[in-house]
Symmetry: C2
Subunit: 243 residues, 2 copies
Amino acid sequence: MPAVSAARGRPTSNGAGQKRRAGRPSAAVLDKSGITAAALELASRKGYEGLTMAALAKVLDVAPSALYNHVASKQDVLLLVEDHLMSLVDVSAFAAGNWEDAVRTWAWSYRNVFAEHTPLIPVIAVLPVTDAPQTLAMYETVSKGFSDAGFPQERIVPAIVALESFIFGSAYDVTAPEDIFESGSMADATPYFTAAVRSSARDADPSGGRAEANAQELGRPADTAFRMGLEALISGLGALRGR
Amino acid sequence: MPAVSAARGRPTSNGAGQKRRAGRPSAAVLDKSGITAAALELASRKGYEGLTMAALAKVLDVAPSALYNHVASKQDVLLLVEDHLMSLVDVSAFAAGNWEDAVRTWAWSYRNVFAEHTPLIPVIAVLPVTDAPQTLAMYETVSKGFSDAGFPQERIVPAIVALESFIFGSAYDVTAPEDIFESGSMADATPYFTAAVRSSARDADPSGGRAEANAQELGRPADTAFRMGLEALISGLGALRGR
DNA sequence: TCTAATAAATGAATGACATTCATTTAGTGG
DNA sequence: CCACTAAATGAATGTCATTCATTTATTAGA
């Protein structure tokens, strides 16, 4: 009955570093959900460079090798985290509203969740949904939403994949440095591009000149590009519905 | 004059493993372009797991530490490779044809190049264009294409970024296993999704039943999704042009 | 022309990791 | 009661990228 150990207080760290002696403890210290939670917390706090098996073990107050009784590899840990994050993606709008609004809500939420976790994106690309119940649940809700909206069966998966591809790519874009497009010394050689960069930077400020804190939020270049692409996809894909 | 050493025959590997003695050699053995070429060749032949500094040094017939006289880090090597790949992206269609066709050609080419090199995608996301002349050249051509097509200045960069995000995400999708969406034992719990997956797999064969070798090429699920998303983006973004 | 600085190589550490293995202890099924 | 399995510890291992001291060659300046 793992429920007992899970319900017990202070699941990690037994306070004053009294070390556990070797051998199986009476109550199991580790389980997948604890590992997942600790990994997520660690990644959020220290970034993915800080998410090492040793650091994870330390948070959980075990020896690193103990982790391997519960996961096969570090990749496995990332899979657990990834699937957990999928449960944070907001699919609620597919229940009620119209398709356009539902896709908008879902896509923004999806991008925002993974923008903080881009190192997981390569993991997702190879992850069979069988091993990822939360991921599967998300796909089910979204698929139903597309079906209800009148999408022909055979176009549902490609349409979702196209949106997801855009979302993952856009999540990376969020992490890019603001000045990534500064051409510096080469500016003379690239007049069109340089002008375009200047002009988009100006336009990105929604306050029309009163550039303050909101320049970070509403005016983030990544948000402008995401909005533009998403609206294009919504209208273009929406046209594929059978009325 | 590095041209001399570059023009010399057998630039890598001095045949019968006679080792170079310590100290600076009369003719430089390494330079950035040689390192780039060797890294690309190694990655293509062995994959990115095989691209280690030690393996790279071996191909170039030097000690691993010698590489650090020319690049600051492995990340630096990836940057060199990445920028080189950008020169392989086909931007030629922006010179002549109409905007839609040019974007189509460019996007397919871009995706196909990076589908083989997805480990570089996280690198690109952080790479300032200043350090990447080929990348900058590509942006210049594309920007000019958008400008000539009547795009307002301030919308050019966001539109390109949106397309690029979709392209990078789609490049990952190409690498995904074909059966990634097989829900297996959970199929009962996800009827809509399962039906959609079945149906799209059937539809992916463009020969309408005569499934042969082309099922791999034209009918790849990733291609269907890419085509669908790209056409949606082209028509959606195209609408933003000022006539 | 000598000489100091710099460039470019070698080879031997270093340190961070993930992962494995032998060992110990504790439940569990027959 | 006993063999088996599960879950810990702690001590390797092996693979990496990276650094450092050292050696040799080229080059710029006096």
